[in-house]
């Protein structure tokens, strides 16, 4: 009798999800520190351009819509897998990754344009804060894309198992969390710039 009880397996997943929630909480503190830094340094533009002059809320709105859409498809992917619809789950995951990649391209082209015009992170404390806060979120998205691709291969290979359900759930927690952080970046950084 060397089969692990279902209870043992469930407890393991339960633990992993709990721990992952805790990690997300610590990530919130990390972003909170970056937001605080940005808000304090925003007026310090050192005779360089201000937030209102550089940041375009309507461009960021497109980014927001793309990211929100990716969160939606990510939710579909988890639900579809739960109900055993592997193809739908995979298709939604692919959409999630494509939308995520689009978001990242949009963000990078915004950065490139700023740098091209000479507004680099070395110009002022405000720009240091801006690039660091937004790029930290971008870096999380990048990690999310790698993780999502791994999930895609995993679901393709194994279909709906307890393991794939748990792993996909954790990924979706992460992805929705990044969406949430972006809402704050959109509101505080981009909409805030228009005020």
């Amino acid at each position: 009798m060397s089969q692990r009880s279902t209870k043992h397996v469930i407890e393991k997943y339960d633990k992993a999800e709990f721990g992952f929630w805790l990690y997300l909480m610590t990530d919130i503190i990390l972003f909170a520190s970056l937001f605080a830094t940005y808000m304090i340094l925003r007026p310090n533009n050192a005779d360089g351009p201000t937030a209102a002059e550089l940041l375009d809320p309507s461009y960021a709105l497109i980014e927001t819509i793309v990211l929100l859409a990716s969160s939606f498809t990510c939710g579909i992917a988890v639900l579809a897998l739960r109900f055993g619809k592997k193809t739908l789950s995979i298709a939604s995951l692919i959409f999630t990754l494509l939308l995520g990649a689009t978001f990242l391209v949009l963000e990078l082209s915004e950065f490139t344009e700023l740098v091209h015009e000479g507004h680099t992170w070395q110009v002022s404390a405000f720009l240091s804060g801006f690039f660091t806060l937004v790029a930290t979120h971008g870096l999380h998205i990048f990690i999310g894309l790698i993780w999502g691709s791994a999930m895609l291969t995993y679901v393709l290979k194994f279909g709906r198992t307890d393991d794939s359900m748990r792993k996909l759930t954790l990924f979706s927690l992460f992805w929705h969390f990044l969406d949430l952080v972006w809402i704050f970046i959109f509101s505080i950084v981009y909409l805030g710039a228009a005020l």
Partner: protein
């Protein structure tokens, strides 16, 4: 061609090898010691044994022991640094040359502070928690055993980096918290500050993971029946500490990252030009730094709560107030950080608020001290070594607390800010609280981990030498501080200070004697381990669950997970005479297999840190890719990470251990 060369070697250059005789001595001595150790292990053919039984182990107790070995080795380095500092101040008076240059002196005090906090106090805390926590709450292991091993190896990677700076490149001269703009690129272009940043960053991420691990373990792994209110106070202290870790360490991560960006990407967070704001750094680092000191001392409070109850043969006085006091400290520790810089222009009202909050935090701490004393009242007290550590703690820590409340008065703080008075104060609480606490804890739980007790007499003498040395080393500093001696002073002109500095230096030697006795105690106890053997697993007539299993505790901790009905369950089971386990209660169990992933990630993280410090961007990138590859490989494979121990095996093994 030369561009490619620059790209490949970054800023590595032969000029970074040390030049002055003191550092050269250290730079030769340290690698030789390491080489000697490697040669010894090779000669004894113990590499395989070391790898399979220790380095790759996921057993929390072994991980805890490795943390503590690192911490004790680092304690030796930290004390050597302290002795160098006091040697300088004993001699460099009135124009006389001390043995060290100003730059060396600055590196030494920075290294002393950084090592003592991050690699001694944190190491002892995490080591002890790993050894004791699962046993105490009736668990087989930590919630995430592999992450536990990763935490350990990130800690070790940070430790290696900080020591590497001694051999190559020099260390930061910016003090243990590295205030900018001094630590910015403009005033400190060399690799020293980068060593400081990346050593702490890597170790800090390990600590953050540990915090998550400890918290999940307590929430999810308690034995059936053990509600939070039935947990021993040490477990409560770990719960509170892990909350503090999770809330505070991300701030450290951000602060260090921003300083690193200033230094490597030319950003302007904390520079004195282009709108940078150094005060922002000071606020951020203390928003982490103040909770950090409670992260260190709260587990020590937990240790004393167990020690005092056990050796007084009474239940802990005021269990609930003990827990509420911990929780109060947890909240208050986040709203006192500004008291570290009353003099830096926050204004009277802000200073008043933080001053009052700082005084308020003395109340729950006072509650705890009195509860411990009331626990002793009318107890049958055994003055074993842990109790001697406790008594030394009460005297020292209370004195430190009182000088802390003094400095919480902003008006007074303007006089003693950044003087030797402050240095004396925080050594008073950290040595008295943290160091004495963990030495008490090590002595108390040693038999549970190793199966034999530490020699009691030597332990008591070690505690007494520490206490005497402490008084000699730090009371003069209080006086010097009031006389106007600022901290981090490498020479001075007032000859009346010299006798006090010499007394303080003698105190360091006495403390070193205390450490020597502790090492002697370890060696002697290993030698006499047959006589000191702990036969029944309960040498101190303990109260909590860890004493219900044989010593040394088996790798699975509990053959049968106990059912808990009340606080101090083991004590009451003994009173009622119901301690045995029936054969039919044994069940099959699964345990995590050993894995080298923690070691690999630690090594790669260390190389990554080295790459960033020396601007070897290609190396850093390769390391990141390697870590991602390892994590992905682990995520994508469905290899079985657990192994099986049958009920039958368990039964026979525990029957043998109980004989």
């Amino acid at each position: 061609m030369s561009e490619l060369f620059d790209f490949l070697v970054g800023r590595l250059s032969l000029e970074y090898f040390p030049k002055d005789p003191v550092t050269i001595g250290a730079a030769i001595g340290m690698p030789l010691t390491v080489l000697g150790l490697v040669a010894l292990i090779t000669y004894l053919k113990r590499w395989r044994w070391l790898w399979e039984n220790w380095l790759t182990s996921l057993d929390a107790k072994k991980i805890g022991v490795m943390y503590m070995i690192v911490a004790i080795v680092m304690l030796l380095r930290g004390v050597a640094d302290a002795a160098m500092l006091r040697l300088q101040t004993a001699l460099a008076v009135n124009g006389a040359e001390g043995p060290f240059t100003t730059d060396t002196f600055q590196q030494v005090f920075t290294a002393h502070g950084t090592i003592m906090i991050f690699f001694v106090a944190m190491g002892l805390a995490f080591g002890l928690i790993n050894c004791v926590l699962p046993l105490m709450i009736g668990a087989r292991d930590m919630a995430f055993p592999m992450m536990n091993s990763i935490s350990l190896w990130l800690f070790i990677a940070g430790m290696v980096l900080i020591n590497l700076s001694l051999v190559f490149g020099g260390f930061s001269n910016g003090g243990w918290l590295g205030y900018p703009p001094l630590t910015g690129l403009e005033y400190n272009p060399g690799p020293g500050v980068d060593y400081w940043i990346w050593s702490l960053q890597i170790a800090g991420i390990g600590s953050l993971l540990s915090g998550i691990n400890f918290f999940t373990t307590i929430i999810k792994h308690r034995a059936p029946g053990m509600t939070l209110w039935k947990m021993p106070v040490f477990s409560w202290s770990v719960l509170v500490t892990s909350v503090l870790i999770m809330l505070a360490f991300p701030i450290l991560t951000v602060t260090l990252a921003l300083l690193g960006l200033d230094r490597t990407m030319g950003m302007h967070f904390f520079t004195s030009d282009a709108g940078g704001n150094p005060m922002l750094y000071i606020n951020l680092i203390w928003a982490w730094g103040h909770p950090e000191v409670y992260i260190l001392v709260i587990p020590a409070f937990g240790v004393f709560s167990e020690v005092v109850a056990t050796y007084s043969k009474k239940k802990l006085f005021g269990y609930k107030t003990m827990v509420y006091a911990l929780i109060a400290i947890m909240f208050l520790s986040f709203i006192v950080w500004q008291h570290h810089f009353f003099t830096m222009g926050a204004g009277a009202n802000v200073n008043a608020f933080f001053g009052i909050m700082t005084m308020v935090i003395a109340i729950p701490t006072g509650v705890k001290i009195f509860n411990w004393l009331f626990t002793m009242y009318k107890g049958r007290i055994e003055f074993k070594a842990p109790m001697v550590w406790f008594l030394a703690f009460v005297v020292t820590f209370t004195l430190g607390g009182v000088s802390g409340v003094l400095m919480a008065v902003p008006a007074l703080d303007f006089q003693v800010h950044n003087t030797m008075f402050l240095v004396a104060h925080f050594h008073n609480v950290i040595i008295g609280g943290v160091v004495f606490g963990f030495f008490a804890g090590i002595t108390h739980w040693f038999p549970k981990i190793f199966g034999f007790k530490l020699h009691d007499g030597l332990g008591r003498w070690s505690a007494i030498l520490w206490q005497v040395g402490f008084i000699l080393a730090f009371i003069p500093l209080y006086i010097l501080g009031l006389m106007g001696a600022v901290r981090r002073l490498d020479s001075y002109s007032d000859p009346t200070w010299q006798p006090l500095f010499i007394t303080s230096g003698i105190g360091v030697l006495v403390i070193a004697g205390g450490i020597g006795l502790f090492l002697l105690q370890l060696a002697y106890s290993v030698w006499k381990r047959k006589e000191l053997r702990d036969d029944n697993g309960d040498p101190w007539d303990g109260r909590t669950l860890e004493w219900s299993v044989p010593s040394p505790a088996p790798h699975y901790n509990f053959a049968v997970i106990p059912r808990v009905t009340r606080r101090d369950d083991w004590w009451h089971m003994k009173q009622a005479g119901k301690t045995g386990i029936k054969q039919k209660e044994f069940k099959d169990i699964w345990l995590p297999k050993n894995t080298g992933i923690g070691v690999y990630i630690g090594v790669i993280a260390g190389i990554f840190g080295f790459g960033i410090i020396w601007h070897l961007w290609w190396l850093a990138l390769l390391c990141i890719i390697a870590i991602i590859a390892i994590v992905l490989q682990r995520t994508l494979s469905i290899q079985d990470s657990e192994y099986h121990v049958s009920a039958n095996e368990l039964f026979h093994e525990s029957a043998r251990a109980m004989k």
